[in-house]
Symmetry: C2
Subunit: 369 residues, 2 copies
Amino acid sequence: MSDARRFVELQDPLRMYRGGKLPSVTIAYETWGKLRGRGDNALLLFTGLSPSAHAASSAVDPSPGWWEYMIGPGKSIDTERFFVIAINSLGSCFGSTGPASCNPMTGKPYRLDFPKLSVEDIVAAARHACRALGIDHVHTVAGSSLGGMDALAYAMMYPGTYRDIISISAAAQATPFAIALRSIQREAVRADPTWAGGNYAPDKGPKDGLRVARELGILTYRSAEEWLQRFDRERIEGADASADPFAMAFQVQSYMDANARKFADVFDANCFLYLSQAMDLFDMAEHGNGRLESAIRKVDAKRALVAGVTTDWLFPLWQQRQIAELLEHAGVAVSYHELESIQGHDAFLIDRERFAPMIAEFLAGMPDA
Amino acid sequence: MSDARRFVELQDPLRMYRGGKLPSVTIAYETWGKLRGRGDNALLLFTGLSPSAHAASSAVDPSPGWWEYMIGPGKSIDTERFFVIAINSLGSCFGSTGPASCNPMTGKPYRLDFPKLSVEDIVAAARHACRALGIDHVHTVAGSSLGGMDALAYAMMYPGTYRDIISISAAAQATPFAIALRSIQREAVRADPTWAGGNYAPDKGPKDGLRVARELGILTYRSAEEWLQRFDRERIEGADASADPFAMAFQVQSYMDANARKFADVFDANCFLYLSQAMDLFDMAEHGNGRLESAIRKVDAKRALVAGVTTDWLFPLWQQRQIAELLEHAGVAVSYHELESIQGHDAFLIDRERFAPMIAEFLAGMPDA
């Protein structure tokens, strides 16, 4: 399959937010549409923990992207008007520098020698990448989940370099519940002996641990209501005849298992650990002497779209309301939406009916207006 | 420490609900108070997945039991009036026959040769145990969580042998969400190579897998609100100095870890798998040609206390309402309570303030009245 990814090398070493530095950094990205000026029509898109920069199809790579319904000519994020640039996060394993990349100092993968990763580093690397590409100022910074944390951090760290922000199902700081949950996912990976303290051979990683971690991810990205409507207690045919007394018996198990295996086949375990922990550590209050209000005052967006989903129990509505209120107090014109979607945290990936019009309306008239 | 457990051998082999049989069955139990007649003042108590029959302290074993605040002289379940008998579930590992017990046919632990376990089997074994002890008819059958499923199943399977029922945070059938969650817990155990297809040596079980499974249990037994109030983003002192880049950093992690390790030290992994799967398989509708309404019509309780907790997302309120409505349609006088507790599914173990008066009121005047 052809690959629409491009790569940019940052000009300088990257000093990491919590110490250490990366001597050289590559950032993988994809773009759609045509750049005007130095970024007046640019929409900088951050991703969740697991996706690559392939957010949408293109002539070069016609395979559907993770936000296919949203991005393209005439779509809500209209690539006839916007130049969209999607970033593969620093620390990930789809082309950007991360724990699975070669450490130039040793000629071997970084593995756990990769410095501690923070949302701030993902954002700084993306900012440097944009500048290296001649994009000084963007129209909109957008993201969902980890990508929403990225968008908020970007807005706080680089005032004056963007106009609007879109924050979907994000958080101004990780909750103890989400920390606990991600912590269990990481324990599942680390408890797999194949992980070997991070020193597994490339492509020989702890797939069982990663599969368990991803099953838990899948569970938390959706809602109990959705499972009930979709699977109820539907059985897997013939399961009772299995010699394995704990063979999967219900369709919901089969769905989770299939999806988790796909993830475990393509995602690097150490990258997962680093990105997962970066989410736990995210706390905008660190930038405001312990106060979220002080930190968010640094945001100078003209407008913000803040949206959450009623059935999202990982990044619950109260956190979306909190973001909206903080931004309003900081003087940003906030468009706030609580979407009645059944798909939980992952709704933005699936629920076109609710998300597409909301984004289209927010971007309407822009950037031509 | 002295042990107040007693043991009863069932007189006959136990035919299991989903096939297979156990040639001999021991049931461990504890009692408090004095039995009157053949059970007129007996309260039969089923437990959740993990506890033993040690529900309360006694002269023989003064260590606090898992429902210490509830059971005792002058307490809500008043042992000066009631004879309380708590049952260690069939399939568990605290004295009752289970996968870790010796298979008399081989002289070795059953392990995965234990037949498939169902809630119906736990209940049948308890019923036979009671009869062997001369208890033909009980005043009240009670339980929470798995124990609540047991109480409902008992009421359905043995009409005419009890007067009232108490069902707390239970379910008439397992939801796909709960199935998914327990399925991940079981995968965490099975993915641990030490599990060895169930053939680990006694006391050399898959502690890492069991620890991950239990962490997930702990997470789901409480509420996100409770974590927020209790731990917020409080750090573990000195965590940043650890050489382990993924060392626990937050108090919530430390809490989960300590609790999960305790569980992994005492609970048998195969027993966990069997009991966990029994909960998934529980569906009262199987006893009513696929219809819950038909199944529950078999219940002939005089009165039922049905209670749930607002923050319980594992056995959510709609399932408690469903139980209450089904029982009402079956002609039972239902006392239904939605408790505003922050402790989620485990609230019955902790929230004395809300649970103790409710149970006391339900049992008031009984069995003397």
